[in-house]
Symmetry: C2
Subunit: 193 residues, 2 copies
Amino acid sequence: MKVSALILHLESFIPLKQEEKDRIEEQFVPQTVKRKHKLLTAGEVCKDYFFVVSGCFRMFGVDDKGFEHNIQFASEKDWIADIGSFYSQKTSQLNIEALEPSEVLRIPQLGLYELFNNIPKINRIFKVMIEYKYIELQNRVLQNFSSTAEQRYLAFLEQYPHLKNRLPNTQVASYLGITPEFLSKIRKDLRDS
Amino acid sequence: MKVSALILHLESFIPLKQEEKDRIEEQFVPQTVKRKHKLLTAGEVCKDYFFVVSGCFRMFGVDDKGFEHNIQFASEKDWIADIGSFYSQKTSQLNIEALEPSEVLRIPQLGLYELFNNIPKINRIFKVMIEYKYIELQNRVLQNFSSTAEQRYLAFLEQYPHLKNRLPNTQVASYLGITPEFLSKIRKDLRDS
DNA sequence: CGTCTATTTGAATGTACTCAAAAGCGGTGG
DNA sequence: CCACCGCTTTTGAGTACATTCAAATAGACG
């Protein structure tokens, strides 16, 4: 049952009453996503928040030269949405795309607001979740400034061991902010040493 | 009165009852901070959250070569803390330092938790605040990947006009992730063109 | 007024990118 | 089961963006 993964995840933050669980389950819609299919396309408004039950996604932007830059990956038990677009209901500059066949639980804006208004715990859980994500991003900014591409690659392997054998290197390179060619050279150097 | 700046700021998110305002004011301690004085030093635990009433701060990390990297600035009506350290009560790797003579309102961990537990609105306000900061950071990551130092400098000037004539260029360079020398060359090129 | 810090400038260097091309790998259809 | 296609990975040569180091100049604060 897909929804149980979500409830399990939420309860790892704060235990929920049965009545609360029921109300939460009501708002989520299960969805199967094919590889390369997009949950969000730049130019659209991000109307839903997604909880990843299985599979893997990337969120990326495209610069003026047409190059894609991965901002984050999301796999099992992770959340993904362009929260800037979601809360403002302005068009998004970002894309969310499945890197594998995946299953998600989708909650539309109104459904989530319903939960925020009626279940205070959900507010607290979402506050804590975004705090974690904020800390992660902050570390990433700091790391991008203070270390070489090779050090960042090694740090990525340590921090996301469950992703390293699952993603093509071109996706990892895009996440690290380097070209696939350069990542290939880094990997060669690491093998040789 | 220092505290009124805080209440005004909070009410820009959600209106508060007089009773709530009183409870909030109780928890904050006004503090004057001299230039170059630190609110947080790497190696300590971040025990307080700060609201900046006047002045300006930088938060920075130091890499293994001893170079400082500015993660964020905080001036009037902004909040600053190493939230990773604050919530986990583990030692921080970051420093928070006044760039100008400043005034802050300090709230200790217990005081903030008291507010979180007794005033649900405060939870929602802090959730929204961190969401804004998250979006800002995300844009910064994307920009660092997709544009040159010159473009990032121009974007910085546009995004933080109130800071541009207030900060030494070495601080701006550290925020942009470049050397002061290179920023100087960028500024020269912009003047010449 | 002196000291300390910030800014500018230049030459040599390094890290990562561009472009091009070849080799590898996995899946699909005949 | 093999051949082919698309996509990823590797390799190399030349280049660009940004750094390092050093030194001169300018500014700011006490």
